[in-house]
Each structure stands twice: as C-alpha cells, then as structure tokens.
C-alpha cells in the first residue's frame, strides 16, 4: 500500500518537465563584473568625464574580490574608449577614474570616500545593499540565488550622469526619484 503510493509519486515526478528550467549559471564575481560593465554602458556620460582621454577607467577601492573579473574587462569599450582596470588604496587616487567599485571592506568608510569623490562625474558601485542609502549610486546585492541592484538616481544626476530608462526599469529600488 505504502510503496504503491510512492510508486505513483515517482511516476508523476518522472513525467514532469524537469529539464525545461535548466539554464545558464554563473559565479558571483563574474556576474558582478558583468553588472558593472552594463551600468557603465547604460549611462549617458558628460564630456567632462573624459577630458579627451582615450581610456575608460574602472577602479576599485578596498579589498576587491572581483579583481580578476574586472581586469578581464580590458579591451572592451564604453563610449568608444577601451576599459582599463585600476586598484586604489586612497579615495584621492580614484578621483580621476570613471567607475569606482567600493568593496565590502569599505562599508564603514563609505560616506567619507564618497565625500572625496562628490560632484565629479564618477559612477560609484557598492558591493553591499546599504550603499545607496549612504549616498552611493549603484548597490549590488545577492537575493537568494540572483543578483539585484538599487539605484540612487538623485546622486547620479548630481554627478551629471544619466542612467537609461531600461536600467531604471530593472532596478529593485530607486532612491531619490524626482
């Protein structure tokens, strides 16, 4: 009787389309680097961000677990400029970069670093959910097994950056909506 029920369950399970859901997977670091690359691509940059430079700088501050993945972006382009990756130890060094990635190690110092970078056309991305609340522009966060992001629109606009509508549509949360 018992094994009969089990047999039925087994049969039912076998006929369910299990494979249909299977798809692509990625490791966290690669996915985060891909998000950062997309943020850079889907923002309108002011000319002042480049000063006639030929390169597009993506930098990180703090203990960065994405080092390999961000360095692998070299050769790709944003706004017609090819990407270079740089590592910074002080906020002052980052002042001329285009994208600055804040590693989790900088959580306690977020506001201080942002103050140094403020009013420059620098896109800031934080590896922690509270980043936008502290005045950062893009916050990455893992939710269950997916990666999600928040945007602080007011901060981006203050720096002269204009995120595309499609980027805003995908954000989990938008801070400082007009």
């Amino acid at each position: 009787m018992r094994s009969g029920t089990l047999g039925l369950t087994a049969a039912a399970l076998l006929f369910l389309p299990g494979a249909a859901l299977a798809g692509m997977t990625s490791d966290e670091s690669t996915l985060k680097a891909a998000f950062i690359y997309n943020f850079a691509k889907f923002v309108d940059w002011p000319e002042s961000a480049f000063h006639g430079k030929r390169e597009f700088c993506i930098g990180s501050i703090g203990h960065n677990p994405l080092e390999k993945e961000l360095a692998a972006l070299a050769g790709k382009t944003v706004n017609g400029r090819s990407i270079v990756y740089r590592r910074f130890t002080t906020p002052e060094q980052a002042a001329d970069c285009n994208v600055v990635f804040f590693a989790r190690s900088e959580q306690a110092r977020t506001e201080e670093i942002l103050e140094t970078l403020s009013d420059r056309p620098i896109l800031t991305v934080g590896d922690y959910g509270e980043f936008c609340g502290k005045g950062g522009m893009f916050a990455l966060e893992k939710k269950d097994t997916r990666l999600v992001f928040d945007v602080n629109l007011a901060q981006a606009q203050r720096a002269g950056l204009r995120p595309h509508a499609q980027l805003l549509k995908l954000a989990r949360k938008i801070y400082g909506k007009p």
Binding site: L13, A19, G23, S26, L31, A34, A108, R146, L167, Y175
Partner: protein, 681 residues
C-alpha cells in the same frame, strides 16, 4: 539492524526502515532525470548578455560558507547587521527577542533565560549556540552563560536562528534549535571604528576596532571592548547584579580570491559579574541569599581552512580551542575544549549536493564545588565523535528538493546515537515555497546530570519534629540520551506589494526527558534526607507555530512583525520544565524609519504572554504578561559619525520577566536610557 539502534521506540524504528527506501527512490529519480544543460561557460559569454538576462542567471556560489545554516526546509530567521544597527539592544539575548519562536526573559542584570519552543529557564538545556562555528553552550548544564557571550556588535555579520532540531548537521544539543552568530570577514572591516555608550543602567561601554589589508590578499582586524553595566531592581533583599567585562580579539582572513582561504581568529575576556545564590544552611535560618562577584576569565582560538578543490568540490577543516573559567560562590569551573571538524561538500551532476563530515571534540573540566554543590569526580574528560552525511537532491530544478541525512554521534557514556532527518521543499514559483520535515534529535546527559551531588534546600523542622529535612539532588551515571521526534512544516511567500511572510508549524514529541525524580525521605544523622535523582522518566508533546511578516509600505518605512504560539501536552506538564518561562503567546512589532539620509527612528514593541515557572521545590510561579517598547533615534551629522539615543522598556517603570532556580531574589527590569556615539574613519 537499524531497529536495534532504536531499542526503545517502535516509532523510530519504523522511520528508520522507511529511510533507506526513500533514499533509493530519490536516487532513482535523480538518476533518471536529465542533467541540467551546460553550467557556466567562459566569463566572456556572460559579459555579452544584456542586463535583463543577467538578472535571471542563478549564482552558483562556489564559496558557500560552511557555517551557514541550510535554509532549504527549516524554520530559519536571520538577524542582519541592519536589524542589529536599528535595535536598542546592548546584549545578544535582547537581539534574540525579535525572532519568533524564541523565548527570552531577563532574570537579572547578568542572567538570562533563552530557549526556542519551550523548556526555558535559567537552566534551559536544549539549545546549541555557536559563535563562528564554535560551540558556546556549557556542557556543565547544557545551557549558555549569557553574561560572557558578548561581541562587538559592529563585527556581527548576521545571527542565524534555526527553530527546531538542527541535529543532523550540527549535532550535540541542537534539539530545540540552533543559534549561530557569524562575524564579518576581516576583508569587510577596514578602517578604524570607535564607539562610546553611556546611560543610567548602561554605565559605560567603550570599544575600538582597527582593520586593514596587507596588500597580498590578507586582511586583519583587532578589537577591544569594555562593558560596565549596572544592575536591575531587586524586590525584597538587595542583590547585586552588575557586570564589568573587558574583551579583545583579532581575526585574520587570507586568500579571499584564491581557492584556499584561511581564517584565524581569537578572543579573550576577563571581568566579573555579580550573581545572587540562594544557598541552603544546615541550621537556622536554613537559607541565605548571597550576592557575590563571579570571576570570569576565558579565551578561544579558532582556525579554519577552506579549500575549493573545484567548482563542485569544497573542503573545510576547522580547529578550535576554548578555555572557560568561572569562579562562583558554589563552584569553580575550569573547562578546556578542543574541537576538530572536517567537512566536504560535493556536487554531483548538478542534481546531488552531498555534504559529509566528521568531528572530534575533547572536553576536560576541573570543577571543585562547595558544601551545597559538588561534582564527583571533580575532574572529568569526555570525548565526542561524530560522523554525518547529507544529500540535497534536486528532484526538479529550483522546484522540488529532498534533503536526506543523518548524524551518528558517539559519547563514552551514552554510546552511539543516530540523528536522521528527511526534508522536502517545494517551490512552485519564485514567490512561494512549502516545506516539511521529520527529524530525530537527541540530547546527551550533561556533566551535572551525571555527577552532581547538591543540597537544594533545607526545610525547617515542623514541631514536634526536631530534625530539618535536606532536599538533595544526585546525578546518575546510568542516564540515557533524551530524544525528540520533530514534525515540521512551513510556508514562505512574497507578494509584489512589498509584503513577505514566513509561517512555520511543528509537532514535537520528547521522550526519556531527564527529570529529577523524588524518592522517599529517610533519616540520616541529625536530619532527614529527601533525595531526588535525575532519571529518564518524562515524556511531553508540544505543538505550535510562528509567523514572521515583513512589510515595506513606503521607501523609507519598514514594518517587521512576529508572532509565536505554543502549547504542551503530557502528564503533569503544567508543573514541568517543558512549560518553564514559555508563554503560550508572544508577539513583536518593529517599525524602522529612515527620516531622510541622516536620521533613523526605530520602535520595537513586544508582548509576552502569561507564563509559568515551576521551581525546583515544586512551587509554580505565575509570571504575568507584559507589553513594552524600545525606541531609538539616530543622527548622522557628518560622514562616519553617528549619534543615537535609545530608551528601553519604556511603557512601565519596571516589570518582572521571569524568576530563577538559582536565587529566591526577584529582579524587575527597569525603563532605561542611553546615548551612543560612533565614529568610523
């Protein structure tokens, strides 16, 4: 064969026979289903995808923390760093009040009663509490000395609370639940942080932390914290219950992006906590309340090596040493623990996630007692060995998962114990998930239950009798493990209106519960001895449920609520340890408001229902219900600075939360206020 491992329970042996069949079925299913299509390709592929698609790619986390509690099919609640920051709590037990299903009652300024799903009291003994994978409950009585379990709150990454048995993965003492406090990696705490806190009861708490990286993938941090906390209001005789404790420690994390990660950490603490002991006297007035400082000195050292052999195979090796020193009026405890754990996590064809491991723990204690409390022998060593294996089988990708596993634990006095579990989780849509589980869990006898020889009370003679009666309690070397069969089910759901809820229900059957059994009085010299001995005699059932609801009505306003219900069944249960300090109903409601970027305003209300406290002498004290509230206002005037004001237990001048078996003095918790300044740079 399996039946013989469960000599005293037919129910268990039926489950035991059923498990291999379930296993076979699962393996059959897993083998016949097609394997998922190609996993992660080269990174280049992912980079070319549009963001819409990136957002749907599941992360295969190759570096899943070994100490993380599986959230598949259990009642889990996670206290995040955000929850901690917005709380007015200054101690770990206060933080636990926000978790539904957890009973927290403050006995006095330094003693807490904390349990999950009942069996609470200052000697609650069915909980496993860990800090970074290091067990911190004392094998002396199976409970936690909460006065020494403190941390720099800013160092906590999260606190995972699992209600219900976690014995298959975590073993020893994880009967009613597991509380796992996880601190941040040293990679996540760069810079300097200084905090200072002061108020009426919180005389002074100061802390400092410094963290940095060495540039080659290694990060470290150091911290120091001193707490000077005043006592609570004692009704009746004055009784001291203040605390002064200093602790410091370090953590080093090396090699975060490589395949080999090493964590080395250590803490040391010293200080004193005032405790009151009601001690029987062998002549008139037969009892006395003694407040005296308990001297506390301890430390620990832990190292963990995580090796990512490949994307599908991961090893973790952890070794720790822990030293606890506690000098009280009635006993002095020196305890050394060495624990070695190996874990291997292996994914097979994308369908099986196999975790197996082995653990070895050596315990030694030297505990000289007093005239009223002694352990025989004074010195004792114990060895615990465990082996476990668990398979998480994906029956339908991201939809249906079955987790089967068991732990086998060996201890010299109680022999081999089997702790199997079967859990099923069904996620028909991303927003809904249902789960159910059956688990057997055991608790082996504590050092005191085996070796104690204590005089609990002296009853003055009632004329014409002339001899006083000594109520004594003796340990029992022949005790067996007590066991729990837990049946659980739950539901999680999330709506797109920003509402999520998590409902868990359970039915627990406890058998062979170790309980003091009173014998017949006999004359002994100049007194009468009323002896009681620990025996595996009681059986109780409990059932109940917990609900956690989160709602974010506005971008700047979060509401978080919790409700717990529990009831007990069994002969004499109303006067048993099962119901002790466990209200049938309790609820919490938190409101977290971000008033602009610089100001936070947080409120936490809680209701704790009427509950009973059966004292060792047979009297049942009824604790009235109470409602109270904490509030916190924080302001960040400049980058890195935060100033906050907090008030606790605001709704009345003072209230009683629970009583105690250790002292006859009753303490009431008063309304209090404190201010805190923190500076990060």
């Amino acid at each position: 064969m399996i039946a013989s491992l469960f000599p005293r329970s037919n129910r268990l042996s039926r489950l035991g026979r059923g498990l291999p069949r379930l296993f076979a079925l699962a393996l059959l299913l897993a083998g016949t289903l097609p394997a998922p299509a190609a996993a992660s390709g080269p990174p280049g592929d992912v980079l070319e995808l549009p963001l819409e698609q990136l957002m749907n790619i599941p992360i295969v986390s190759a570096s899943r923390k070994t100490q993380a509690i599986a959230d598949v099919a259990s009642a889990v609640f996670v206290i995040t760093q955000d929850d901690i920051r917005h709380s007015a709590a200054t101690t770990i037990p206060e933080l636990l009040r926000m978790v539904p299903g957890v009973q927290v009652a403050q006995v006095d300024g330094t003693t807490w009663a904390v349990s999950i799903r009942g069996f609470n009291g200052n000697y609650a003994n069915k909980l496993l509490v860990m800090i970074d994978g290091r067990s911190v409950y004392t094998p002396l009585y199976g409970g936690v000395f909460w006065d020494v379990q403190d941390l720099l709150f800013e160092n906590i990454e999260r606190i995972e609370v699992i209600r219900g048995p976690g014995s298959t993965m975590w073993g020893a003492n994880a009967v009613n639940g597991v509380i796992n406090i996880i601190t941040k990696s040293a990679h996540d705490t760069y810079g300097t942080l200084v905090t200072a806190l002061a108020g009426d009861r919180e005389h002074r708490t100061v802390s400092a932390r410094y963290g940095a990286g060495t540039g080659n993938g290694t990060s470290y941090r150091l911290y120091l914290k001193n707490v000077d906390r005043g006592g609570t209001h004692s009704t009746g005789p004055a009784a001291a219950d203040s605390l002064n404790l200093t602790r410091g420690g370090f953590r080093v994390d090396a090699g975060a992006d490589g395949s080999l990660n090493l964590t080395v950490q250590g803490d040391a603490y010293g200080g004193s906590a005032d405790h009151t002991f009601t001690v029987p006297l062998f002549s008139a007035p037969f009892t006395s309340n003694n407040s005296s400082p308990v001297d506390l000195l301890g430390g620990n050292f832990l190292s963990r090596l995580d090796w990512l052999q490949s994307e599908t195979s991961k090893y973790s090796l952890q070794l720790y040493y822990d030293r606890t020193g506690r000098d009280t009026l009635i006993f002095n405890e020196r305890r050394d623990t060495v624990d070695l754990d190996l874990q291997h996590n292996l994914r097979i064809n994308g369908r099986h996630e196999l975790t197996w491991g082995a653990g070895y723990r050596f315990l030694h204690d030297h505990t000289p007692g007093s005239a009223v409390f002694a352990l025989d022998p004074t010195d004792r060593s114990d060895t615990l060995i465990n082996l476990f294996a668990q398979d998480e089988i994906t029956l339908l990708p991201e939809t249906l998962r079955l987790v089967l596993g068991t732990k086998v634990e060996h201890r010299t006095t109680t022999g081999w114990q089997l702790e199997p579990s079967a859990k099923l989780s069904f996620t028909p849509r991303k927003e809904y998930s249902l789960w159910a589980s059956v688990t057997r869990s055991v608790r082996t006898p504590t050092r005191a239950e085996q070796d104690v020889s204590a005089t609990l009370a002296v009853i003055p003679p009632t004329p014409p009798a002339v001899r006083p009666t000594f109520v004594t309690l003796s340990g029992n070397e022949a005790l067996q493990a007590e066991s729990l069969m837990a049946y659980e089910a739950g539901l999680r759901a999330e709506s797109n209106a920003g509402v999520s809820f998590d409902l868990s229900t359970f039915y627990n059957r406890y058998t062979d519960v170790i309980t003091p059994q009173t014998g017949t009085p006999f004359p002994q010299g100049s007194h009468v001895n009323l002896p009681s001995v620990f025996r595996n005699v009681a059986s109780y059932d409990s059932s109940g449920g917990e609900l956690a609801v989160n709602w974010q009505p506005l971008e700047w306003w979060k509401l978080k609520g919790g409700y717990s219900y529990i009831r007990f069944f069994g002969t004499g249960v109303e006067a048993s340890p099962a119901v002790k300090a466990t209200p049938g109903n309790q609820a919490t409601l938190r409101s977290l408001m971000a008033l602009g970027k610089k100001v936070d305003f947080d409120l936490t209300g809680r209701y704790v229902g009427e509950n009973r406290f059966p004292l060792a002498n047979g009297t049942v004290v009824v604790i009235p219900d109470y409602v109270t509230m904490d509030a916190r206002l924080a302001w960040r005037p400049a980058a890195g600075w935060e100033v906050s004001l907090a008030g606790r237990n605001l709704l009345q001048r003072r209230h009683l939360e629970t009583v105690s078996d250790q002292t006859a003095v009753r303490h009431e918790i008063e309304r209090d206020f404190y201010g805190k300044v923190s500076w990060a740079f």
